[in-house]
C-alpha cells in the first residue's frame, strides 16, 4: 500500500471539507467531545449556504454556550438566563426581515425560561430556536436539569433523580409541538456523521421556514452529550446517550408544515 503523506491530504484539490467562514478562528471553549461545537458549526453552515450571513442576528443563552458569540461570525446578543426568546421577539418584531435565531440549553429553555419558551411558541413568532438538551447543567458543574432522566445522577441528585420529590424529566419539545404557534418541530442529534447530516437538514428547514415567512416558530432540539457533567469519556457518553437518552427523547420530526407527525 502506498504511503499516505500529509502534503497529499492537504492539497487544495484533495480538500473535501472546509470550515465555514461563519465560524471564527477562536478556539472553542467546549470540553473535547462535547456536542455544542458541532451544533454551532452546522448552524453556521446553514446560514452560509442560505446566504443569510449579512441578515442574521443570533441570541446566545446563559449556559456553556454563553460565549457562542466568540465562535459564530454573525451579529450576536447575549441574553440573561432563560430570556433569549424574549430578546428574539424584540428583534424580530422590530426587524421582520432579519433572520433571528436563539441557541439555548435545557436549563435555559426548559427551566428558568419556560414561560418565554411557551409564549413565543404560542404567539407564533417567526424565528428559529435551537435547543441543546444534554440532560444536565453543564456550565455550573453538573447539577440536575429539567431533562435529567429518572434515576440519573447529578451533583444535586447524587443518588439519582427521584421523580416523586424532584419531578419528572420534561419533554419540552413535545409540549411546544402541541402549540398552534409552532410550524416545525424536530428532535435530532449530532454524535455521528449520519446524525449530523439529519440534524443539519432539520436546521436548514428551520431557517428556510423563517426566510419564507411560513409563520411560527421553527424549533430544533438536539439531544447532546455532556461528558464532563455526566462524568464519562466522550465515546462512553455517546453510547450512554444512545442507550438512555434516545429511548426517552426519540429522534425525528414532531411537527412539519404546522402539522403534527403521526
Amino acid at each position: 500500500m502506498a504511503e499516505i503523506r500529509m502534503e497529499d491530504i492537504t492539497r487544495p484539490e484533495n480538500l473535501v471539507y472546509k470550515k465555514t467562514p461563519l465560524m471564527t478562528d477562536n478556539i472553542l471553549s467546549y470540553c473535547p467531545g462535547c456536542g455544542h461545537g458541532t451544533a454551532h458549526r452546522i448552524i453556521m453552515e446553514v446560514v452560509e449556504e442560505l446566504g443569510l450571513q449579512e441578515n442574521t442576528i443570533g441570541v446566545c443563552p446563559v449556559g456553556c454556550s454563553v460565549l457562542a458569540y466568540d465562535f459564530m461570525n454573525v451579529d450576536m446578543q447575549q441574553a440573561a438566563h432563560g430570556r433569549a426568546p424574549a430578546l428574539a421577539t424584540g428583534i424580530k418584531r422590530t426587524w421582520p426581515n432579519r433572520t433571528v435565531f436563539t441557541y439555548q440549553g435545557d436549563g435555559d429553555l426548559a427551566a428558568i425560561g419556560t414561560a418565554e419558551t411557551i409564549h413565543v411558541c404560542n404567539r407564533g413568532e417567526n424565528f428559529t430556536m435551537i435547543f441543546i438538551n444534554n440532560g444536565i447543567y453543564g456550565m455550573t458543574g453538573g447539577q440536575m436539569a429539567p431533562t435529567t432522566l429518572e434515576g440519573m445522577k447529578s451533583s444535586t441528585c447524587p443518588y439519582g433523580r427521584d421523580v416523586q420529590t424532584m419531578g419528572h424529566p420534561l419533554k419540552m419539545t413535545e409540549v411546544v409541538a402541541t402549540l398552534p404557534g409552532t410550524f416545525f418541530v424536530s428532535r435530532q442529534a449530532v454524535h455521528t456523521p449520519s446524525a449530523v447530516r439529519k440534524a443539519k437538514k432539520a436546521i436548514r428547514m428551520a431557517f428556510e421556514n423563517q426566510r419564507d415567512k411560513k409563520g411560527g416558530i421553527s424549533f430544533v432540539e438536539i439531544v447532546s452529550n455532556c461528558n464532563s457533567g455526566w462524568k464519562m469519556r466522550p465515546v462512553d457518553a455517546n453510547h450512554w446517550m444512545e442507550q438512555n437518552m434516545f429511548p426517552f427523547f426519540p429522534l425525528g420530526d414532531l411537527k412539519v408544515d404546522g402539522k403534527l407527525v403521526k
Partner: protein, 360 residues
C-alpha cells in the same frame, strides 16, 4: 403652539411614545399604569407610524424584549408599576451592563409586596441606587405634571441615546391618573435603517461584509477586562452627573427655609409654599427633576441663606438621604412622609415645617 389636549398622565406617556418616533413598546398590565398599553392598543400606532405594541407574558419578558430590540439600535420602551418593575430589575442590570439605550416608566404604587394600587414614592431607592445587581446607574426623571409625562418621554430617549444608558421616568399613581391640559410636541419620524446604522454603529442589525460582527453582551470573565468595563461605566456616570442634573427652584433666592421634593409631592408642596409666603414665611421649594443624577450641588449652593430643610416624600424617607449627603450636616434636614397610598395636604406639610424646622 403644539396640539392641546386634556389627558391622563398615563395616556400622555402613550401619545408621547408615538410622537417621539418610538419603534416598539412592550408591556404587561398593572394598576395604576395600564392606561399606557390600553391607550397604545386603541390608538393603533402601527397604522400611524409603524410602531410595534405588544403585550408580553410578564414584565420579565417585556424588559427582555426591550433588551433585544434596543440592542439593534431601535427606540424601545416599557412601562409598569412597582411590583412589575421589581421583576424587570435583572433585565435592567443587563441593559445597563451592555450599555443599551431604552426608556422605562414606573408609575409607582405603595409597597412592599403587593401593597396597594394607590400612589407612592417608595421606589426611589430602587430607581436611583440600583435595584438590580452590580454597579450601574439609570438616568431617572421625575415628572410633576401630565405635561412632563409627555415631554420627558422625548427627553428620556435623547438622554438614553446620548449616553447609551437606560433612562427611567419615575412617576406615581397621582401623576399617572390625573387629567390635565397637555401641549403635545410635534411628531418625530421613526428612524430609517440608514439612520440607525449611522447613529448606532454598535447595533446588532446583521453583519455586512464591510464590518466585524457586533456583539452585545455584559459578560467578560477576565477580571482585568471586566474591571475596565466597570471603570468605563463609572466614567460615563461621572459625565452624566456633571452635565445632566436638572431641578426647578421656586422662590429660592431669598428663602430662609427650603422644601425639597419631587413629582406629585412637589406639586403639593408648591401650595404649601403659597400659604407660607402669604403668612410671611420665607419658604422656597427645590424640585428635583433628575433624581439620578441628584441635584446635590444645587441644594448645597442654597445653604448660604437657607437655615433648615424639610424633605417630603410619599415614603418612609428615601430621597432625604441624598439631601442629607448634599447638605453635609450644615443645616438641619427634617423629613415628613406618608405611606400606603396616603397623601399629605399642603397645610399638613406646613405644620410639620413649623414644628420641625422653623420652631427651633
Amino acid at each position: 403652539m403644539g396640539e392641546l389636549r386634556l389627558m391622563k398622565g398615563n395616556e400622555a406617556i402613550g401619545e408621547a411614545a408615538i410622537r417621539a418616533g418610538v419603534d416598539a413598546y412592550f408591556g404587561y398590565p398593572i394598576t395604576p399604569q395600564s392606561e399606557v398599553i390600553e391607550y397604545l392598543m386603541a390608538e393603533k400606532p402601527y397604522e400611524r407610524t409603524g410602531m410595534v405594541v405588544l403585550q408580553a407574558e410578564s414584565e420579565v419578558a417585556s424588559i427582555n424584549m426591550v433588551y433585544g430590540a434596543a440592542a439593534t439600535g431601535k427606540k424601545v420602551m416599557t412601562s409598569s408599576s412597582s411590583p412589575g418593575v421589581s421583576l424587570m430589575m435583572e433585565g435592567v442590570s443587563y441593559i445597563a451592563g451592555a450599555e443599551l439605550p431604552c426608556v422605562l416608566v414606573n408609575v409607582v404604587r405603595g409597597g412592599p409586596g403587593l401593597g396597594t394600587i394607590q400612589p407612592s414614592q417608595a421606589d426611589y431607592f430602587q430607581a436611583t441606587k440600583g435595584g438590580g445587581h452590580g454597579d450601574y446607574r439609570m438616568i431617572v426623571l421625575a415628572p410633576a405634571s401630565v405635561q412632563e409625562m409627555s415631554d420627558f418621554v422625548k427627553l428620556a430617549f435623547e438622554l438614553a441615546f446620548r449616553y447609551r444608558n437606560p433612562a427611567m421616568i419615575l412617576s406615581d399613581g397621582v401623576i399617572g391618573q390625573m387629567m390635565e391640559k397637555v401641549e403635545l410636541f410635534d411628531p418625530l419620524p421613526r428612524w430609517t435603517e440608514e439612520q440607525i446604522t449611522k447613529l448606532s454603529p454598535w447595533a446588532t442589525t446583521g453583519k455586512p461584509s464591510t464590518r466585524e460582527r457586533n456583539i452585545i453582551t455584559s459578560l467578560d470573565l477576565r477580571p482585568h477586562v471586566q474591571e475596565q468595563r466597570n471603570i468605563k461605566l463609572q466614567n460615563k456616570y461621572a459625565i452624566i452627573q456633571e452635565k445632566e442634573v436638572r431641578c426647578e427652584k421656586i422662590a429660592c433666592d431669598d428663602a430662609e427655609y427650603l422644601i425639597v421634593a419631587y413629582g406629585s409631592s412637589a406639586r403639593i408642596a408648591q401650595k404649601t409654599l403659597d400659604i407660607a409666603r402669604a403668612q410671611g414665611i420665607k419658604l422656597g421649594l427645590l424640585r428635583a427633576i433628575t433624581l439620578w443624577p441628584f441635584p446635590s450641588k444645587q441644594i448645597h449652593e442654597l445653604l448660604d441663606h437657607v437655615k433648615g430643610i424639610l424633605t417630603v416624600e410619599l415614603s418612609a424617607g428615601q430621597m432625604v438621604e441624598d439631601v442629607r449627603l448634599a447638605v453635609e450636616g450644615k443645616v438641619n434636614v427634617a423629613f415628613y412622609g406618608r405611606m400606603g397610598g396616603m397623601i399629605y395636604t399642603p397645610e399638613e406639610i406646613l405644620d410639620v415645617l413649623k414644628a420641625k424646622i422653623i420652631g427651633e
